[in-house]
Symmetry: C2
Subunit: 375 residues, 2 copies
């Protein structure tokens, strides 16, 4: 299967439906595994990395879950193609920078994506739409069990799974959810929430993980510790915290709509107006405006019509307007940042332009006097 | 005639047509005159100011140019009504603050507006659409001649007309034009132009005269000196400078369109999108966005259609969205700034919403690659 066929469709987590979809974009589980008695990729010589690849790639490809799959050594992909996979959250930024011995294997639904010779020998990722941490874990856990039948993973009776970085030792698991929190950002409660989540030992990060800025009101919440608790315990704790955040987010959206309806309608109207009529847009601005538009859809501010912007349209634009996705569409011509910004605006206009604007009648605004010709 | 009947229509300078209308919004001539042997309004006692009013108001009202006119003592107008007249440039901010003895007389076309007991006993203003300084002067000069037949103005053989402030002594004339200069602002050449205009003894000011900020890319250019030159000489010098500024402005618009078409189209598209979809807007933002929209009309970027935004629609919005005009429409209810911002956005949406957006085909953009599904 070719990369283009994979990326022609949005992954299941983008196009599908899942619980708490209004706030939770996706749930992810990543398990880190390493082969016993084999140097970690960062310490391994080229030949050792290639040997790891020879062992792992066929094992992963023969998983029943990978019956229809896409597998590729990273050296066979251009820098641009790797960047497309990063933008789809199918490989990590670190993995995209790797050379000989590194590979990716993913199923056609893009719910499973396994990286070979990233920081660890094998990183198994499951990603699903909405809040489905338990379900996603079950999916990845099943693959782990199947692989363990033919591979020997580095395991220590006291510590658990051994990993290249000590912060992953134990379960080797990172569970995370991507949350869309425009309500908490608009009502300026987001920092309070981030602080409390940090205090109970969970991490909150921006769109592309550690060290990245929060754009488009998207925040990734994940476990920090991998030792001392079982996988289901870690996931259950994370799940409960996320349910709390969802409640806070939905409360702030409701509060905003009740107490500052004009501001909310204004923000959504402006985002819609700019997206429909701009002719140049950076990816950062696009993310931020699409986030506000998505809030408008969630709040049902757009007319009840098939023509109104749908969550799916907006989610697709979130992905398609990223730099590598745009560049990929340019048929091999190297685009300047300026040309990308123009193409991004053109794509967005094409998708949104014929859509009806927000419907004022849907927001209970205080009465405003109309202009009259009283004499 | 009632004030409401006057302000129900836009003045001739707003709704009419005149030379160089793409850059010159209006031309104004103001003559300051004082009665001989009578204290200036600032030094006069109340009874003396009332006496001046009794002398001047009937004289002005009986001018043939004022056959159809509106005359009002300022004490009979509310603060809001005076502010409406200021926003229409029919009286000055200073005049609006005056009390007993002050009055205004204007013709129904709003091309002539005479202030009684402003800083001087009489200030005669003519205002016309586009660049018509000579024509406007002729109109006001005629009134001056007619009034001089029945009134004795304070005049000194060496100095000329005597005025309350020495900066007006001589001709007592201030000639000015309101210029719309978005091209010079966008291309960052405006400060250079302002500096050279200042150097040759002319003044450049913001929308509401001295000490006001330049908003909506509107600049008022006027003579500084009133001594040593005849009125036609002063006007001719000003006229020539303005013709030069017009040339610079039109050059920068052409340059922007040729060298940065994407930026221009983007700015106009965004202004259009925000104006059509915002639900709250300050008067400053409205002025600035309407200015960009007007540039789009001047550059003929909108489709050739009756439905496209016209210069007249935009010029009307410039006036109607000002605070006092909005408040005037609210049937006596005192509006909060927030309610005004909401009403302003509603008015603008109502006028612009059904209009077609800028037409990309009208701007020669460099070719941008389209997204394809190449495999």
């Amino acid at each position: 299967m070719k990369l283009n066929r994979i990326i022609a469709n949005a992954g299941e987590w983008l196009s599908g439906d899942g619980p708490h979809r209004q706030v939770v974009v996706s749930s992810r589980i990543r398990l880190a595994r390493n082969l016993a008695r084999t140097p970690f990729p960062g310490w391994a010589k080229r030949a050792e990395r290639l040997h790891t690849l020879e062992l792992l790639r066929p094992a992963v490809e023969s998983l029943p879950e990978m019956r229809e799959s896409y597998a590729q050594n990273l050296t066979e992909l251009t820098a641009l193609e790797r960047q497309v996979l990063v933008e789809r959250h199918l490989i990590s930024r670190e993995h995209a920078a790797k050379g000989a011995g590194s590979a990716v294997v993913m199923n056609v639904e893009q719910t499973l994506s396994f990286m070979i010779n990233e920081e660890d020998h094998l990183r198994m990722q499951g990603i699903r739409c909405g809040l489905q941490l338990h379900e996603t874990y079950a999916m990845v856990d099943q693959c782990d069990t199947e692989l363990a039948e033919c591979l020997e993973f580095a395991y220590h009776d006291d510590l658990g799974y051994l990993t290249a970085c000590p912060t992953n030792v134990g379960t080797g698991m990172r569970a995370s959810a991507m949350l869309h929190l425009p309500g908490l950002v608009m009502s300026e409660q987001i920092n309070k929430i981030i602080n409390s989540v940090n205090k109970i030992g969970l991490a909150v990060r921006g769109l592309h993980g550690e060290g990245t800025e929060a754009m488009g009101n998207l925040f990734q919440v994940s476990n920090q510790t991998t030792l001392g608790e079982s996988e289901p315990q870690i996931i259950e704790r994370l799940n409960e915290v996320i349910l709390h955040i969802i409640e806070h987010e939905e409360n702030s959206r409701q509060q905003l709509l009740e107490k500052r309806p004009a501001m909310v309608l204004d923000q959504i109207g402006r985002a819609f107006g700019i997206l429909c009529h701009a002719h140049s847009m950076t990816s950062k601005e696009a993310l931020n405006l699409l986030s506000i538009l998505k809030l408008g859809v969630d709040l049902e501010i757009f007319p009840n019509s098939d023509a109104a912007p749908s969550r799916a349209t907006i989610d697709e634009l979130f992905i398609e307007t990223q730099p590598a996705h745009l560049q990929k569409g340019a048929q091999g011509q190297k685009m300047t940042a300026e040309a990308r910004d123009a193409l991004r605006a053109t794509l967005i206009r094409a998708k949104l332009n014929s859509l009806p604007p927000p419907d004022t009648a849907k927001v209970p605004l205080p009465e405003v006097s109309k202009q009259t010709d009283d004499e």
